[in-house]
């Protein structure tokens, strides 16, 4: 037989469920009202401040509000005692709550109380008293806000395109920052790098991150990345140059590699090739002692270089020598030869760039206001080729393919000597008409694979046009002279070097800004 207390509990549980549903409905409506208010405010704000994907964000807010209010309603669902108190407030004169408190007591009134409560509860139509329909006032507010929100949705948003653009930039920045973080992680985990190198790389990446963060356009992000990549490339080249120098010093101490060291010192690629070939042959006839000395030299050489590639190749040669495997020795020597030649070429390229930079700075210092000015659609560029057998003579000629009008001043100083430079400047400011953006002209950069010589810059005055010319002197007329690279790449490098040099030269303050502007204009 069912206990009378259970009858009360069953009725109360039903009422409790109804109360929870009622509270959930009311709370959800309040949540949606709040979300609508936020949505309208966001929508209006997005017309002043660019906000990306307002409606997407609003849907998230609605969903969150809905989940939050629903969760809140479930969490704060009334207890059985609270339910009893609520039921009592519908005119049951505290019968139910008193019964719950006294149902387990020894009160002489207990049975009478339970009996009375069951009778009263059975007459209580809770479905009628506790309606699920939300209150009218709340409903009116909800409908009004919904209407306002719909109206706001159909009003065109002038800032929408801008917001989308900013969002794309932000995403791009995030993507790049993520890549940088991954790179940082790899650097930290790299066992081959020294702590100093790691710190240096981390600093470069930190600077890059900062620049990316501060970038206002996607182009600026790309520029920052490109700039850092160039810096790192230069760093790599510096390291390679150091390695070559160390290698020269170590190899010089062994009689069998002395000639090879000299070839390296002179950056004489042919001689180096010959010496390496000779070394291969010598190895066959070397005494054990000589081999041992050579191995020792190679071990020292391996220790002295930072390049892991070169280190491995030297170690491989050392191992091949120990085993006496000729094929392996040949392969090792060939691979060392390849790496060294690349290194020398790169070094030569660096030298060329340094000379160009020096020439540029010297020109600015010497001529002061010799910066060329001109009007035209494009900048005039000149290309010059120089040939000669004698290092003391220099010839230069400039050509311009300038489409607009420009004026340039320049001077050529070819008075002989190995370090003969010609310097000049002549850049037309791109002020008139429209220019073809991002389609930079290709200009010549000297890159000699074979042969030796010096690079030279010439400034030519070519009618109404202006342009830079660069000449290259070599004693080998069949040398590969270089290649055509986009103008902006070279200009970027020039600018960076020049900016770095600003602090190390005595330049009048008024000129610093002019120089900065000039180099900035080069990259535009």
């Amino acid at each position: 037989m069912k206990k009378p207390q259970n009858t009360i509990a069953i009725i109360l549980v039903r009422i409790k469920s109804r109360l929870t549903i009622k509270n959930s409905i009311n709370n959800c409506i309040i949540g949606i009202i709040f979300a609508l208010l936020v949505g309208i405010v966001m929508d209006l704000l997005s017309r002043i401040i660019p906000i990306y994907n307002v409606y997407g964000k609003w849907i998230i807010i609605v969903t969150l509000a809905f989940i939050a209010t629903l969760s809140y309603s479930i969490i704060t669902a009334p207890s059985l005692h609270k339910t009893a108190e609520i039921v009592d407030s519908y005119g049951l004169k505290e019968r139910v709550s008193t019964t719950l408190e006294y149902q387990d007591s020894d009160s002489p009134y207990k049975n009478a109380l339970i009996q009375d409560t069951i009778e009263t509860l059975s007459k209580f139509n809770y479905k009628k008293s506790i309606t699920l329909f939300p209150n009218k006032k709340t409903l009116i507010i909800l409908l009004s806000l919904t209407f306002a929100f719909i109206v706001a949705y159909f009003i065109p948003n002038p800032k929408k395109a801008l917001a989308e653009e900013k969002h794309t930039l932000k995403q791009y920045q995030k993507e790049k920052e993520k890549e940088i973080k991954e790179a940082e992680k790899k650097i930290n985990e790299d066992m081959k790098l020294t702590e100093e190198q790691k710190k240096e790389l981390q600093a470069s990446l930190a600077q890059l991150k900062k620049e990316i963060k501060e970038a206002q356009e996607k182009k600026e992000v790309d520029k920052a990345i490109e700039k850092t990549a160039k810096k790192l490339e230069l760093k790599k080249q510096e390291e390679l140059a150091k390695d070559l120098k160390n290698l020269e010093d170590i190899l010089e101490k062994n009689k069998n590699t002395k000639e090879l060291s000299a070839a390296l010192k002179n950056s004489d690629v042919n001689k180096m090739k010959e010496e390496l070939e000779a070394l291969k042959n010598k190895l066959k006839d070397m005494s054990d002692k000589e081999k041992e000395e050579l191995k020792e030299t190679l071990a020292k050489a391996s220790d002295s270089v930072n390049s892991s590639e070169l280190k491995n190749q030297i170690n491989s040669l050392s191992s091949a020598m120990t085993s006496g495997d000729e094929v392996a020795i040949n392969q090792s020597v060939d691979s060392i030869q390849g790496t060294l030649m690349d290194g020398i070429s790169q070094q030569q390229m660096n030298n060329a760039l340094a000379q160009l930079q020096d020439a540029l700075v010297a020109s600015q210092k010497g001529n002061g206001t010799q910066l060329a000015q001109g009007d035209g659609d494009n900048q005039g560029n000149g290309q010059g080729n120089g040939q000669g057998n004698n290092k003391e003579n220099s010839k230069g000629s400039g050509q311009s393919n300038d489409l607009g009008g420009g004026a340039g001043n320049g001077s050529s100083d070819a008075d002989g000597g190995v370090t003969d430079y010609s310097s000049g400047s002549g850049i037309a400011n791109n002020q008139g008409g429209s220019s073809r953006e991002k389609e930079y002209e290709k200009i010549f950069t000297p890159k000699r694979i074979e042969g030796t010589g010096e690079s030279s810059s010439l400034t030519g005055k070519k009618g109404s046009n202006s342009g830079n010319s660069e000449s290259y002197i070599t004693d080998d007329s069949n040398a590969v002279l270089g290649e055509l690279v986009p103008y902006d790449q070279v200009a970027g490098e020039y600018s960076d070097k020049a900016m770095e040099s600003l602090n190390s030269y005595e330049i009048p303050e008024g000129m610093i800004e002019i120089i900065k502007e000039y180099f900035s204009s080069l990259q535009e």
Partner: protein, 327 residues
């Protein structure tokens, strides 16, 4: 105890009410409140103009409930011994003189202290022990009063000349202070019709003193929920200006709040009222109903209240509302 036992108690009270109603026309609330106080075991102070049937009500109750009844007309020259009794010298059969206690009118179940405020405070205080302890002490000898013992005092609010307001300590011993209102036209017509034109009404004894005592025991056990009890206690505390939950009106106008005896009074009276309403539990409404007669004489207002025309009734209503909102 089941529902039928409760119904039996209720029906007995109803019978008393009906029987009293034969002699007292109208005044339903007064009769109801008097019965609540009697079954809660308290003393009653009836305040009203002369001729409203206060004395008649007490006499009727005594008859219907089969209680011994004494009436003491309080006057300025009334002495305490006139109320409680005194030792007198009597001679025994051998002619020897002996002190013998002569019982005063207080030795009754129902004592009507008519116009209690006309006696001096000394005489008024003679009732203190009887009202609270249900005992009387004369010449170091304590005499127990017969149960049930109740004092029903009356006072006239109009004639203040030559009266002695009751001291706070004595007022606190009255469970209820009931205001007897003037009858309306219909009630007045009925009073005239019954008392002037017809023969005197014969009243029946409905219950006796033993039944009253057993009913009191039953009524004390009526369940009260924690929320309702808290509400009642907070109402009492709200008559104290320093109670933080007290409404502003209390803080502004109350000079001295109700004593803990008021808390006992309000709960026990509410229990009786609940059963009289046919319920087995005390509701908020019961507390509200008994709060006015229980509290109106238990706290005292300051001069601001007097000058602003604020009455104790106004304050009690404000307290009841403010605490109910919080409950």
């Amino acid at each position: 105890m089941d529902q039928s036992d409760i119904q039996e108690v209720v029906s007995k009270i109803r019978k008393v009410e009906e029987e009293v109603g034969k002699a007292i026309i109208g005044q339903k609330d007064v009769i109801n409140q008097v019965l609540i106080a009697i079954f809660a075991g308290g003393n009653i102070l009836l305040e009203g103009s002369p001729g409203l049937g206060k004395t008649q009500l007490v006499k009727t109750l005594a008859k219907v409930m089969d209680l011994t009844f004494s009436r003491i007309q309080f006057t300025p020259d009334l002495m305490p011994a006139d109320v409680v009794g005194t030792n007198i010298i009597i001679k025994d059969s051998s002619g020897k003189g002996l002190f013998e206690f002569q019982h005063g009118p207080v030795f009754s179940n129902l004592v009507l202290a008519d116009e209690i405020n006309r006696a001096t405070p000394k005489t008024q205080s003679a009732l203190l022990e009887a009202m609270q302890e249900h005992t009387v002490t004369v010449a170091n000898k304590t005499y127990k009063l017969e149960e049930p013992f109740m004092v029903l005092a009356t006072q006239n609010p109009l004639e203040n000349e030559g009266t002695y307001p009751l001291p706070e300590a004595q007022l606190d011993r009255f469970l209820f202070k009931i205001m007897v209102p003037y009858p309306n036209l219909e009630e007045l017509r009925n009073i005239v019709a019954i008392t002037v034109n017809k023969e005197p009404i014969e009243l029946n004894k409905v219950i006796d003193k033993n039944e009253i005592l057993s009913m009191r025991k039953i009524l004390k056990e009526v369940p009260i929920s924690a929320a309702v009890e808290e509400y009642a206690l907070k109402v009492i505390l709200s008559t104290h200006a320093d109670f933080e939950e007290a409404p502003e009106i209390s803080k502004k106008y109350i000079r001295y709040g109700a004593s803990p005896r008021a808390a006992q009074a309000i709960i026990s009276a509410a229990k009786v009222r609940a059963v009289m309403e046919g319920r087995c539990n005390v509701a908020f409404d019961d507390i509200k109903y008994v709060a006015l007669p229980t509290l109106r004489h238990r706290f005292f207002l300051n001069f601001d209240a007097v000058s602003d025309g604020v009455t104790t009734e106004m304050i009690i209503k404000e307290i009841l509302d403010s605490q109910f909102k919080k409950a």
